[in-house]
């Protein structure tokens, strides 16, 4: 029950933060920081993949409806939720994951987090920018946007965990 409440609050906070703050700031050079992939990463490890795809879809549609992108964020978020179990199983540690564990910066190895989350962000951003621009001759611009945005998003997501996630795993 507490876990459900925690993730609902997070859902709302990530939605509003992405739509009202991070979709509005301009850093130049086509950088578009996106932090809501962190919400999908922080969902419980053994969550049903159907449920996590539906939650991701709802989060994406919420962000889309405020920033008028009509399904773009939803598509990228669903892709991420779909790939999440596969990426987790590829990077599984030798003795497996703990049951019901939350994958945050304290419970996991830092290098593990960097690899897994970097990969997830690259896939997500590439998918998002490809759909957003959707032209073959813009491929260099798509790659430039992805290469520049992924580090910014990654740093932001690590900072958010450092600031807001307590060592026990609860959000303050």
């Amino acid at each position: 029950m507490i876990i459900l409440f925690k993730h609902t609050v997070r859902f709302v906070l990530f939605l509003l933060a992405q739509a009202l703050l991070f979709n509005q700031i301009e850093l130049g050079w086509g950088i578009h920081p996106m932090i809501y992939p962190l919400f999908i990463l922080l969902l419980p490890y053994n969550m049903n993949v159907f449920l996590s795809m539906l939650v991701a879809f709802a989060l994406g549609i919420g962000i889309d409806s405020i920033s008028n992108t009509y399904g773009l964020h939803a598509s990228a978020a669903v892709l991420l939720a779909y790939l999440r179990p596969m990426i987790f199983s590829v990077f599984e540690p030798r003795d497996g994951y703990e049951e019901g564990l939350e994958m945050n910066i304290y419970s996991m190895d830092f290098m593990w987090l960097l690899y897994v989350f970097g990969l997830m962000l690259i896939v997500h951003h590439l998918w998002f920018f490809t759909l957003e621009l959707f032209k073959f001759n813009e491929i260099l611009f798509i790659l430039k946007k992805t290469i520049l945005s992924v580090p910014v998003s990654l740093i932001l997501c690590i900072l958010i965990q450092v600031i807001f996630v307590k060592k026990t795993g609860d959000r303050s």
Partner: protein
């Protein structure tokens, strides 16, 4: 049959994934040109409220800039008032005649949400159908055009701004009246481009570009920007013209919505043009 069930069981995760992607992508690719409903846009009631609440905080950021601009616009208008002129010639009387009939009405509005560095940038206005806003009305500011109303709810509306892919506003050079379509390449919020001007027209750098007023969305002569670069397209007899927008879309707050009182009449008479057979078969 059993194989089929087996197949669905095996690929059920992928099928749900594909279904969700289908929903998301079909709304994304159709809404660009035909908005199906207002519920998934920032014009919807809940999102409009959230954005007005956000605007209460962010409106102060560019307040000084926008106030100065309004003041300048006021000065410009005041200078055209009869009170600012000395009468040089007596005996001429202006009569309120029937030669002129009002065609355009303007409504003030405030931009409560906007982006400028995405591929397609939409602005949300704090006026809606209750204030008489309808789809396909033009929006402009003191310094230049802003966009076309895309979606309307009761108290909010979404504007497809100049900074979108398929904006295609018809514009012309102020000096030569050569006209083309305004486009945006998705990179720099200050620079657009014009396509469709034949390269035998003479165009100078820093020529002013204004709206043409052909489709009845904007009145004629609303500023758009200035020519910043002229190039040629290989293999086509057309100029490739870059436009430096006269409006800074990154700080825009106060805009006007255009209502064309004669639009129905124009549409009615234009719908009587017979469809060109060659054009449809091509």
């Amino acid at each position: 049959m059993r194989n089929l069930i087996e197949f669905f069981k095996r690929f059920q995760v992928f099928l749900v994934f594909a279904a969700l992607q289908g929903v998301a992508l079909s709304t994304y690719f159709t809404s660009m040109s035909f908005p199906r409903s207002q519920y998934l846009t920032s014009a919807s009631k809940v999102n409009g409220e959230i954005l007005s609440w956000k605007y209460e905080f962010t409106k102060h950021f560019n307040l000084a800039y926008n106030n100065t601009r309004l003041q300048k616009a006021n000065i410009r208008l005041r200078e055209t008032q009869p009170g600012s002129f000395i009468r040089l010639q007596y005996g001429l009387v202006k009569i309120d005649d029937t030669l002129y009939k009002q065609q355009y009405e303007y409504m003030p509005a405030t931009v409560i949400n906007s982006t400028f560095d995405k591929r397609n940038n939409y602005f949300t206005l704090n006026v809606g159908s209750a204030q008489g806003i309808e789809r396909d009305m033009g929006v402009f500011s003191d310094y230049g055009i802003v966009g076309v109303v895309h979606n309307v709810s009761e108290h909010f509306s979404v504007v497809k701004s100049v900074l979108t892919e398929a904006i295609n506003i018809d514009v012309m050079m102020e000096s030569s009246e050569a006209h083309g379509l305004l486009k945006w390449d998705g990179k720099d919020a200050r620079v657009g481009s014009i396509s469709g001007i034949s390269n035998d027209m003479r165009i100078k750098k820093w020529d002013r570009i204004v709206t043409r007023g052909g489709s009845g969305i904007f009145p004629k002569g609303i500023p758009v920007g200035k020519v910043s670069r002229i190039g040629s397209i290989e293999g086509l007899p057309l100029w490739d013209i870059s436009v430096l927008f006269s409006e800074d879309y990154r700080r825009i707050q106060r805009v006007y919505v255009v209502r064309n009182l004669l639009k129905k009449e124009q549409e009615k008479i234009e719908s009587l043009i017979p469809v060109d057979k060659e054009e449809t078969t091509r």
